[in-house]
């Protein structure tokens, strides 16, 4: 395939972003189960997985580096791929942490009505130490059309896991502390559509792609841990199911909606 043909194949309506090898692997597994194409295409300047037309959307998947900030992270890749693919929307799939291990379970799916980029916190001097203020961390709403599609799918489908719609904390930190998460939950402004339901890393980069009042993104992720000291141990087992559930939720929604 020539670079021109690849550039042509990259044109699509929606992009799916995945970050880790597990996320790619589970997306491919679910795609195959659902008889959806998953063909790797490489050109000189870019690479992607062509997924053909799912429902009424031409879909391609792209692997980004973990986190928002690096050269290959979700911000840089998002700006590039959104522009060259003409895609109207981006769905970030993968793994996230939950915030309530009494109610939520590993493998449950989190869907962002909003993102809270917590890196915008302010650190001030206070009595010889420092204090953190989250007053500058404002909620960024997700793309309404993608959110609607997920809501309809959730309302009409019985799944083997729960789905939580709400705010997601997002930033570059790997979090191993429940206290840090609780501090943010208690301090951040409340959003109309519910509580903070979890957190993740790549969403922060998606905020760089489009203006706040015209977002192109949605984050859909499976819970793989609860941001505590057990994080790395738990992830080893929970990773595949978290990635698989988020991938299956989105591909099923895309294949079913809109009902025309």
């Amino acid at each position: 395939m020539t670079d021109d043909q690849a550039a042509n194949d990259l044109k699509c309506d929606l992009l799916i972003f995945v970050a880790t090898p597990s996320e790619v692997e589970q997306l491919e597994t679910v795609a195959k189960e659902m008889a959806i194409e998953f063909r790797e295409t490489k050109a000189r300047d870019f690479a992607f997985y062509s997924m053909g037309t799912i429902g009424s959307n031409r879909v391609n998947a792209v692997r980004v580096e973990m986190g928002p900030f690096s050269y290959g992270g979700s911000a840089a890749r998002g700006i590039f791929y959104k522009t060259v693919s003409s895609a109207a929307g981006i769905i970030q799939l993968g793994m996230a942490f939950g915030v309530n291990d009494n109610q939520q379970k590993l493998g449950d799916v989190l869907i962002s009505t909003h993102l809270f980029p917590y890196d915008y916190r302010q650190i001030d001097e206070s009595d010889g130490w420092y204090k953190t203020s989250y007053s500058k961390v404002v909620p960024h709403p997700a793309k309404q059309s993608l959110l609607e599609m997920c809501r309809k799918h959730h309302e009409s489908t019985s799944l083997g896991h729960e789905v939580y719609f709400g705010g997601l904390l997002t930033g570059g930190a790997k979090i191993f502390s429940k206290h840090f998460v609780r501090e943010m939950q208690e301090t951040l402004p409340k959003v109309e559509e519910g509580l903070i339901v979890g957190g993740e890393m790549e969403g922060a980069g998606l905020l760089s792609i489009t203006p706040k009042d015209d977002p192109c993104w949605l984050v859909v992720k499976g819970i793989c841990d609860f941001a505590d000291e057990n994080r790395d141990r738990v992830i080893r087992e929970s990773r595949p199911v978290a990635c698989r559930n988020s991938a299956r939720f989105v591909l099923s929604a895309l294949s079913k909606y809109p009902q025309l």
């Binding site: 037309t53 009424s56 959307n57 003409s86 599609m149 009042d213």
Partner: protein, 202 residues
Amino acid sequence: MGKFKDFVESATTDEQFSHPLLSYLVGKPTNEVSVSIHRPKDILGYKTTKLYVNVKDQPPVEYQWNSELNDALIAKGIRGTSQSDEIMRFSLAFRWSFKSIESRFGEGFFNAVLLDVIEDIGLSNEPPVAEIFGQIHKPKAYMDGRGYQDCQEAVKRVFEIRINDLSKKLRYHPQETILIFKAATTQYLDERFSVTDGKRWF
């Protein structure tokens, strides 16, 4: 209950949107008011959009872009300060109007039907639309079922409403209406499908 009953009985307004600016403009002749759109190009996309309201003999007043406010100003017959202001204003108005259709039908289906409608009404061959339209990779819509017709009608209706805004509410001459409408559609398509920005990469 008496106080609330009085409130219910005095509720006569049917206006959905209110804004201090609209109250301020009551009684001002529309030919003494105009709006300018400030939307500087960025490396990719655009910087934050601002709307300036210019009232005769007064300094312009700045507002953040607000689609509902823009529609209310159009309804009052307030024109853009220049033709380029009007073109940018209507391209942003398209984005606002098409959002609910996109939500209902999904990104891909809306893209396909939008391009079909543009072809269907003969707009795709008209400059400057033709130049951008020819560079868009066209998806094929699933044309069976009621959805196609519903979406097609919704898109056409947005076009008709915006033409009506230009010709009836803003009282532009037919030739000016066509010129602004075509340029605003071109601008909208260019942004929606990242045509000009996409070419910067390769």
